[in-house]
Point group: C2
Chain length 294, copies 2
């Protein structure tokens, strides 16, 4: 009862009480199977520069993209439990595979905590931007296999055509740092030549980058696929969705102290720092990464 009274009071624009302010000053929790979700963290920090963040990469058990739903659900729950136990005001599932498999379970588990996956914001942005509702989704094997984007897109635009393609090699390219040059171009051409060969009237008018690794290859993908009106980067659409949720629930940070970013991983601080720096877009050193056991 008291919680529901509180909520109605907030919606009328009354000032926050100290407990609410303390809650608003908690960090945003971001969870991914590894370093790829750092593209989402990067977008979040650009969109919400006043917010503190805590990121957990489950590097001991990556990649999720090729694992079963049962395992993914268990891993995602353990990682989320860890972040929630440290205190967060929202939980971002910055991993397409975990979003596809676990977002409903995690919402039920942590309600009323807002849980934001990467699939829904990406699907919403694609549908909103598309004229012809012909979408091309590039993702990992397991996201494609689960038709996560096709379901999310057709739920919003029932007649939409969704072409989902598994582009597993893009993950390896991004991790190796080969994000331009002839090999990256060759891989993109191999995956996308079928699309490029389509007649103009059936070609997709949006391309969804349905894996957190793929924004690093956005230029190569754009070059390979030719003129496409819209490329949807789910890192940015997810950051936008988080900003909206925090604003709506009046949970934007109030503290005058500078915001903090904490990085946790379940294995390999060295590699996390080395490879992660490319995804976060800034230098990282091994001591920046705290190793945790789940």
């Amino acid at each position: 009862m008291s919680a529901s009274r509180d909520r109605s009071r907030f919606s009328q624009g009354n000032p926050l009480d100290p407990e609410q302010i303390a809650h608003a000053d908690l960090p945003i929790g971001v969870f991914d199977s590894g370093v790829g979700g750092l593209t989402v963290l990067r977008a979040l920090r650009q969109r919400l520069p006043g917010e503190s963040t805590i990121y957990l990469g489950d590097t001991a058990r990556l990649p999720y993209g090729t694992k079963s739903a049962t395992s993914i659900l268990r891993y995602a729950s353990q990682a989320s439990d860890h972040l929630v136990s440290r205190g967060v005001k929202a939980l971002v599932i910055a991993c397409n595979t975990a979003s596809a498999v676990a977002v409903d379970d995690l919402r039920a588990r942590f309600a009323p905590l807002p849980v934001i996956g990467v699939v829904e914001p990406g699907a919403q942005a694609a549908v909103a931007a598309s004229r012809g509702q012909r979408h091309l989704v590039l993702a990992t094997e397991s996201t494609v296999k689960r038709h996560a984007y096709a379901r999310a897109i057709t739920a919003l635009a029932p007649g939409a055509a969704v072409d989902e393609r598994s582009c597993q090699m893009f993950v390896a390219l991004a991790e190796e740092g080969w994000t331009d040059g002839p090999v990256a171009a060759g891989v993109a051409a191999e995956y996308l030549s079928v699309v490029m060969a389509q007649a103009p009237e059936v070609r997709p008018d949006t391309v969804v980058l349905g894996c957190t690794h793929f924004p690093l290859l956005a230029d190569v993908i754009r070059a390979a696929i030719g003129p496409v009106p819209v490329v949807v980067d789910s890192a940015y659409t997810t950051a936008e969705a988080v900003a909206r949720v925090l604003a709506e629930s009046r949970a934007l940070r109030r503290s005058a102290a500078p915001p903090t970013t904490r990085l946790l991983a379940t294995d390999g601080a060295d590699r996390f720092a080395k490879v992660g720096a490319r995804f976060l877009g800034e230098p990282l050193a091994t001591p920046d990464v705290e190793i945790v056991d789940l």
Copy 2:
């Protein structure tokens, strides 16, 4: 005492007792982080067609190549425990990373069970075949980082020059099935152009394929690197080492019944069957793969 008497009796060619025959009829256990070790299983079955085998791919926790030594040792011990508990007469660590990290611990743990890794047989074959003792080792990031082959090769040939190169993209190519064509050639050229540019007198005279995925790319690697006298495939050298150990300990199978092969994985029977078929070189179906929990 009795064991050592037994051993000397065997070496004089006396017949085996029933207990020894039962032991000799046990399968060879093969352990890998995923499907890559199926290249070793394939080589084993070709070299020792009368032997039964049991293969465990720790697909829930792959890849090991980017994980810490502590995690790798724990995973390798759990997987080996599982195989040993089912009854095996020898244990093959068909994973370069696990061999580099865990083979000594596993030998201590399971003595007197023979434990054969892939690094030592590969190093032995390279040293035996090389004229100039200039070796090029292509491997995963963690095998290179641990200098597993450099240590094994220089232990045998102290003055040897060993150039170890991490070729992580070869793993992705092999898993995607892109083992020929322009992308595979481009990746190989990118990794190997430095070597190709070397003066003839310092160029390597052996190339060691130091990852179980790489035999699938042997032709592409050969084409990229130009004339190299010897390419060492550690799948075959390991199978040879197992054959020798079993012969020496008179543990070759006696049963007249046809040998069996069992495939276990810790996650994703579908994917194991689909991708594994390429590595094993024969068709696999999902029901061929038993899922186990470690």
